[in-house]
């Protein structure tokens, strides 16, 4: 896949960067960037918009900025990890440490979040980069779905919110179980059938690959450059996802979604839809879920805490930057049905 070039001139580097993010994509990115700047200005100066449009639009802007600003640092961190992986991790080492057999591979993938603690925004560029480094598809899928929960930050935040009990244990056990199961299913997928070509082939930064750089500072600079490209590439999806999520929340208020479900099944559906629409970061979602404790069963709260970090509007949009559309649909439906099966069973049979 990635060829190691002996040296890289400034011209090659320039070409490389242009290839990484193509001109039409750059133009689209600029348009989205302008939209974000405009919305930021509106957020700071609400009087910029006509008074008739004020209320709904202001709500939309507030929600959008809330989601976007919350997610951007994590995407940045994920992009940075991606850049560091590109420069400092070589394919051979990765191949050496990742199991070949299906079950251990999926299991390792579901626990990989402890090695790369990233939330659902940061996990996408990291997964893409690991694929470029030759990570097996099943491991990457399990990592993609579990890492937003299976990491120390989310472990601590969930413990602080709910303490030691069924919510904390259920969230981690079921997240691993679902990620592992979906990872196993993807064991049957040929990589070129599910991953977008540029991800699969990893052509982008071949010239930055392991051993290409000379000094340590130069290699770090290379990592930052790649991180910047990754960030710009993925932030497009984040912006579109945030716009969609904000639109949904503006026109379908949270209270409407919550009122939809009070039964053992409908409450699970309501909480999963809520998690999908809210697109809240997994590092803080436990505190929001805490406010539902008196209204919803533990099973329903688990559906919010397990499904939300795996798939929400913005992360689903970001998946489109890595996977084919059909696969993105699978990545939504498989965790959705698995989560629903587990949590509805809990609500109807265990009564946690």
């Amino acid at each position: 896949m990635a060829q190691v070039k002996e040296k890289h001139s400034p011209e090659v580097e320039k070409v490389g960067r242009e290839t990484a993010v193509s001109n039409p994509a750059r133009n689209f990115g600029r348009i989205l960037g302008a939209i974000v700047i405009l919305l930021l200005l509106i957020g700071i100066f609400p009087n910029l918009i006509p008074s008739g449009l004020n209320e709904k639009f202001q709500t939309f802007v507030t929600i959008f900025l809330g989601i976007f600003i919350e997610a951007v640092p994590f995407l940045l961190a994920g992009s940075l990890v991606s850049g560091l992986i590109e420069v400092f991790v070589d394919k051979a080492s990765l191949a050496r440490y990742v199991p070949k057999r299906a079950v251990p591979a999926a299991f390792v993938g579901s626990l990989l979040g402890f090695a790369f603690p990233v939330c659902e925004c940061g996990v996408v560029p990291v997964t893409r980069r690991l694929y470029q480094k030759g990570l097996p598809v099943s491991v990457g899928i399990a990592f993609l779905l579990s890492a937003p929960v299976i990491n120390p930050v989310v472990l601590v935040s969930t413990y602080v919110a709910f303490g030691w009990g069924p919510v904390l244990i259920g969230r981690f056990v079921f997240s691993i179980l679902i990620a592992f199961t979906v990872g196993l299913i993807f064991q049957f997928a040929p990589p070129d059938e599910i991953v977008l070509p540029q991800t699969d082939e990893g052509h982008e930064h071949d010239h930055f690959a392991m051993g290409a750089g000379n000094g340590r500072s130069q290699r770090f600079w290379q990592a930052f450059t790649i991180a910047g490209d990754d960030f710009i590439d993925m932030v497009r999806y984040l912006i579109i996802g945030s716009i969609l999520a904000a639109t949904m929340q503006t026109f379908v208020p949270q209270s409407t979604l919550i009122s939809f479900g009070s039964g053992p099944v409908t409450s699970v559906v309501a909480m999963m839809v809520l998690a999908f629409v809210l697109s809240i970061c997994s590092t803080v979602d436990a505190f929001l879920a805490l406010s539902f404790v008196n209204s919803f069963t533990t099973g329903s709260i688990l559906s919010f805490l397990v499904f939300g970090p795996m798939v929400d509007i913005k992360s689903a949009l970001m998946f489109l930057g890595v996977f084919r559309r059909r696969v993105v649909l699978y990545l939504i439906l498989l965790p959705l049905l698995l989560t629903m099966l587990i949590t509805v069973f809990i609500n109807l049979n265990l009564g946690w």
Binding site: I185, F188, A189, P190, E193, I194, G263, P264, V265, T297, R326, Y330, L333, L334, L337, L338, M340, L341, V344, F345, L348, N349, L350, G351
Partner: protein
């Protein structure tokens, strides 16, 4: 669009998952209401005769039939729900030293439609009511004491061991806890709480610049109303009395009335918790205040004695002074809440034209009244009498003119009267606590010294 092998695998998995979810849903709700806690605990003994039966369930209850909780032997009572708690409050005290079996019907329904798998049944044993009173220890500090009476044998034990004096106390309706006031240096008083077995003694409310006392429990056992008098500087005389709420769980306290000019003392709460009576010095009377809807009424009264609620919460007794140009009487009057009619209960003894009755106490069934009586304008001690609730069949229980009796309290079974007495002819007489059996007149000394006796059911 052609399906690949992987697509077919995923679609198969999705189909299986959808079928499993459908099966789980069709199999239906397999949950039942679970019992989280039971009070009194199964097989518990020495339980208060005023105990409230509480069952905490796994989900909030929505509707419960009146017959959901039954006792064997049968005891009438009221069933209510409070969130996840099913509560049964007996209308009458349980019999002492008796075994009761509680049965909770399976058809109580939780908010999610769940029911108990089967009727819940357990039994507990009541104990002998004990006597709580104030006496002083070796350091001359007033403390709470407990007395157990077994036939003629009385055993007393100290309940509190504070450095300061216990001023007064209030027993929680179910007898499980006692709120009491402790006087501190400078005249301030704090409220404390102790379990009736002497454990869990803790400060309930610190009143650094006030004297907080005269606590009265609401029937739910979660709130108190107490009297608060500000003390601007240590040692200064307490200011005007005002009534305050206190949430026992959170410790939050707020004035009962928004109007800071509303003064009140001697709060008394009806057994059903609907009404509060208090002495209103500004209005020169007893104020009745409906705690549920905020309505009220004033009963003119110049005595300033607290009202006494009938256990059935429909009437209250008030001590009233009746003056004329030539005479005066201190009379017991009964006020009917529904009709607001006032009935004078005290009748002069043959050959007398006036009475001096006071310190009334309702019997547990509300059919009799015990009270103190003395001859007007005669230097003698107050004697204990009983009469029917309509004032008829007045009967003297004691006849010792040199002894002054007071603080009368009926035993939960209505057989005994507990009281405090004081020998008027003794130079340094100490108050003592006694018990008298109404039917036989047999008396038993409980504590010497001792004041403010009350039954700890």
């Amino acid at each position: 669009m052609s399906l690949t092998r992987f697509d077919r695998i995923v679609i198969s998995v999705l189909t299986v998952l959808a079928l499993l979810i459908t099966a789980v849903i069709l199999y239906g709700d397999q949950l039942a209401l679970e019992v989280v806690d039971i009070v009194p605990a199964p097989e518990a003994d020495q339980i208060s005769t005023r105990a409230t039966i509480q069952v905490t369930l796994s989900e909030a209850l929505v509707d419960v039939p009146e017959t959901a909780v039954t006792l064997d032997p049968p005891i009438p009572g009221t069933v209510s729900i409070q969130g996840t708690q099913l509560i049964f409050r007996p209308d009458v005290p349980l019999a002492a030293n008796s075994s009761y079996r509680v049965t909770v019907a399976a058809n109580i329904v939780g908010e999610n439609g769940h029911q108990l798998e089967e009727p819940l049944s357990w039994q507990f044993q009541t104990g002998q009511p004990r006597i709580l009173y104030i006496s002083w220890d070796d350091e001359a500090a007033d403390q709470l004491y407990l007395a157990n009476v077994d036939g003629d044998t009385v055993t007393t034990t100290p309940l509190t061991q504070t450095d300061a004096d216990v001023l007064d106390f209030a027993i929680k309706p179910d007898g499980s806890q006692i709120a009491y006031a402790i006087l501190r240096e400078g005249g301030a008083a704090d409220l404390w709480l102790i379990d009736s077995d002497g454990s869990n003694n803790r400060q309930l409310l610190a009143c650094p610049d006030a004297a907080c006392s005269q606590a009265q429990w609401l029937p739910d056992g979660r709130r108190l109303i107490y009297e608060r008098r500000n003390i601007p500087t240590p040692g200064a005389p307490p200011g005007n009395p005002r009534l305050w709420w206190l949430d026992v769980t959170s410790g939050e306290t707020v004035p009962l009335f928004q109007n800071s000019q509303m003064l009140g003392l001697y709060p008394r709460i009806s057994t059903n918790g609907q009404w509060l009576s208090f002495v209103s010095p500004i209005d020169q009377g007893i104020q009745l205040y409906n705690l549920e809807d905020g309505t009220g009424m004033l009963i003119p009264n110049q005595m300033g004695s607290p009202a006494v609620w009938r256990p059935q919460s429909d009437r209250l007794l008030i001590t009233n002074i009746n003056t004329s140009s030539t005479n005066w009487s201190v009379e017991l009057t009964s006020v009917d809440l529904a009709s607001e009619g006032v009935t004078v209960l005290s009748q002069p003894m043959p050959g007398e034209d006036s009475v001096d009755d006071s310190a009334p106490a309702w019997s547990p069934d509300g059919e009799w009244i015990a009270y103190g009586r003395k001859l007007p304008r005669t230097p003698m001690g107050r004697q204990i009498w009983v009469m029917r609730a309509d004032g008829s069949e007045a009967l003297a229980i004691t006849n010792d003119p040199q002894i002054h009796h007071g603080e009368i309290a009926w035993s939960p079974d209505g057989r005994f009267l507990l009281y405090q007495q004081y020998n008027l002819e003794e130079l340094y007489a100490k108050p003592t606590v006694w018990l008298v059996e109404i039917a036989t007149g047999q008396r038993t000394e409980i504590a010497s010294p001792g004041t403010l006796p009350a039954w700890l059911p």
